[in-house]
């Protein structure tokens, strides 16, 4: 194995991905190559700090804690939705009340007009002036 091959394996692939055979070849190469040995050292340290956390697990209450917060979010979302519905309901009530008032006013006006028509003075001959009466009589004579 030459330096280029060794560095390709260490830098691009990474020590943690190499097969045992490849690791053996790398070890043989670095025994006589100081620069590649530095790359190898960096790789072993990267693998070491990663393996420090590899077996770490979250605390036992982790899932429950997350789910408690999910429930809180759901409750708060439900509450907000109820508040939202309530405001729509209020608006709906206001619109309905407005419509009722409009209907009531319209009916009042309509009824008022009817009453005025019923109370209106009937057609009286006395109200007609003489010229118009003459016209009527002339028409009747013919």
């Amino acid at each position: 194995m030459n330096c280029e091959q060794c560095r390709k394996l260490l830098i691009i692939e990474g020590l943690h991905r190499l097969s045992n055979q490849q690791k053996q070849e790398v070890r043989e190469h670095i025994a006589g190559c100081a620069d590649c040995a530095e790359w190898y050292k960096l790789e072993t340290r990267l693998v070491a700090i990663a393996s420090e956390t590899a077996n770490l697990q979250v605390s036992l209450q982790f899932v429950n804690s997350v789910m408690d917060r999910v429930k809180e979010i759901e409750l708060s979302a439900g509450h907000q939705a109820r508040e939202f519905n309530f405001s729509w309901l209020t608006l709906l009530r206001a619109v309905a009340a407005g419509l009722l008032i409009i209907v009531a006013l319209a009916s009042g006006i309509f009824l008022g007009q009817l009453t005025r028509q019923e109370n209106a003075t009937p057609f009286e001959l006395s109200a007609l002036d003489d010229s118009r009466l003459e016209t009527i009589f002339m028409y009747n004579d013919n």
Partner: protein, 198 residues
């Protein structure tokens, strides 16, 4: 009940998402259970602190739940999840303007386990711990994408294809990110070593 639990466990991620969106919010616990440790380990790769990483992991799952309706199924659920993880971790680091250093609180059980197990030389352990803390510092100073590529590759053991999907880039670009990241790491470690020697 037991039968239902078992059949729920057989559901794939995308089916669970559908059911959660349809109102079975309790099934979200299955997704949390499936990914909790992997998400936590990714967070550890960025934060190097157990408590902070667990808090962030919790925030991430809440963020996932809230934005679940935004999952358009153009990629696997896990890819979408890891995108959220990477963004959340990088945002958290930006917010904190974190200057990474390793103090006693970040020395986790594995450091102390070394004393108990096969290493009986405390001096050697301290040197290695210091080396690791320098490497973590160097990792923290990498540009965002290079750092994400290293964390996904080493802490999550993702292939370059998977990393490319998460970072929404090509495999070639990931290869180049890893190459540049390692060159930067080596450079920074060399500088730290020289500073320590002075």
């Amino acid at each position: 009940m037991y039968a239902e639990r078992n059949s729920n466990k057989r559901l794939n991620d995308e089916d669970i998402v559908t059911l959660v969106l349809a109102g079975r919010t309790d099934l979200f616990a299955l997704l949390v259970d499936r990914y909790k440790d992997r998400v936590f380990q990714t967070c550890m790769g960025f934060l190097h602190n157990r408590q902070e990483a667990e808090d962030l992991a919790q925030e991430i799952f809440i963020q996932v739940y809230v934005s679940l309706s935004g999952f358009k199924r153009r990629s696997a659920f896990s890819t979408w999840l890891y995108r959220i993880v990477i963004n959340a971790a990088l945002n958290m680091l930006r917010k904190k303007s974190k200057i990474a250093f390793v103090d006693l609180t970040t020395l986790n059980s594995s450091h102390f386990a070394m004393f108990k197990n096969d290493r009986d030389n405390p001096e050697q352990v301290l040197i290695e711990t210091e080396d690791n803390s320098l490497l973590k510092e160097a990792l923290d100073s990498l540009p965002d994408k290079q750092r994400a590529a290293i964390v996904l590759s080493y802490f999550n053991e993702m292939s370059q294809k998977e990393i490319a999907q998460v970072l929404d880039t090509t495999e070639g670009a990931v290869e180049s990110l890893l190459q540049r990241a390692k060159k930067n790491l080596r450079k920074k470690l060399g500088e730290s070593r020289r500073k320590n020697e002075q």
